[in-house]
């Protein structure tokens, strides 16, 4: 894989994660547990979609394509499934707010580390995006922690959250799985380290946060190689993408 191709692949995985995570968070608009939370969670989802848009623009620039909204949308919504590089954790569709919250905490704990890896990237635009994203991450982390601090104190809520952790934990290794070509991206200085190296500190952080060992759950039923370097989609992906594409498919010539 060429240097360009490797960095592109690395960025696509990053962007697709952000896109799908933003999508999942924003599905709670109007139906979050209380109104203040509705506002906060929607903002976090909007932030993630914004990161996705900036990363897709960067991918387009590397491809030598002008990053117009239409070009971004073609990249974001117009690829065949196998060309997406998101992890299964962000594809996972849930109507359980405990799962949504636990995933939000885990994803942002991971994200903060991932953004730090590219804060000094040899790709100047990526470093700039990281600067903006890290400021926003501070809010995401504080939001998830403030809720968990309070909810984990209440026995019934604690049980729901730990059950949610059990459901979500098997998808954590996949989050830390790199797309092909990442080693090349590291060598070129696009990112400061391997995504896979984030797994161990992430699991430690999860154990500390939730007060239990999650290591056993990690290898349960969705081992990282099930994603095949993020080229394999989970069952949730197709229906979700079809829903997201409904209006775009209505008239492929249209500009909205």
């Amino acid at each position: 894989m060429s240097e360009q191709g490797a960095i592109r692949e690395f960025l696509l995985a990053f962007a697709d994660d952000e896109h799908l995570m933003g999508q999942q968070h924003t599905e709670w608009i109007g139906v979050a547990p209380f109104l203040e939370e509705d506002l906060a969670f929607s903002s976090i989802g909007q932030d993630e979609l914004g990161h996705a848009a900036m990363l897709y623009e960067l991918v387009l620039e590397l491809d030598g394509i002008e990053p117009t909204d239409t070009a971004v949308d073609l990249l974001a919504f117009g690829r065949p499934s196998h060309a997406y590089r998101c992890c299964h954790l962000v594809e996972y569709v849930t109507e359980d707010w405990a799962e949504a919250l636990v995933r939000h905490w885990i994803y942002d704990a991971f994200e903060e580390k991932r953004w730090h890896l590219v804060a000094g990237s040899s790709v100047p635009k990526l470093a700039a995006i990281a600067g903006k994203a890290l400021q926003e991450e501070a809010f995401h982390r504080r939001h998830a922690d403030a809720l968990l601090d309070k909810l984990l104190e209440a026995p019934q809520a604690r049980k729901r959250i730990l059950d949610a952790l059990e459901a979500v934990a098997p998808m954590v290794p996949g989050l830390c799985e790199a797309a092909a070509g990442e080693a090349r991206a590291v060598a070129e200085g696009a990112t400061a380290g391997a995504t896979a190296d984030l797994l161990e500190p992430l699991v430690r952080a999860i154990d500390e946060r939730f007060g239990r060992s999650t290591a056993a759950g990690l290898t349960a039923d969705d081992p990282a190689d099930g994603q095949a370097r993020r080229t394999r989609r989970s069952g949730s992906f197709e229906p979700l993408m079809a829903r997201m594409r409904e209006v775009l498919d209505f008239d492929p010539e249209a500009v909205w």
Binding site: F34, L39, A40, S42, F139, R142, H143, A146, D149, K150
Partner: protein, 91 residues
């Protein structure tokens, strides 16, 4: 849940202003939730939240009498009249 009063201020502009209220379980959640409830478009860059039951309020009839202290609002009418008269006599 507690009701919190939310105050915001834009740097260099005005005093802290009361923006509204929200419900939160504790101070930390109140601060976190207030940001997206009241400052989504950077309507302020400083934020205070105060539990409503911690606000010390004075009764209106305690504050009220100070509305009737004309000696503290000297209107300078006599001086103004003299200045006006002197301007007119110079014309």
């Amino acid at each position: 849940m507690h009701v919190y009063e939310v105050f915001v201020k834009k740097d260099g502009r005005d005093e802290f202003r009361h923006a509204g209220a929200l419900e939160a379980a504790n101070d930390e959640l109140a601060v976190v939730l207030a940001r997206e409830a009241y400052l989504r478009r950077a309507e302020g860059d400083r934020l205070w939240v105060v539990r409503r039951d911690h606000v010390v309020a004075a009764a209106d009839d305690f504050v009220g009498p100070n509305a009737d202290k004309p000696h503290r609002h000297h209107d300078g009418a006599a001086v103004a009249a003299r200045r006006k008269a002197s301007r007119q006599s110079q014309q």
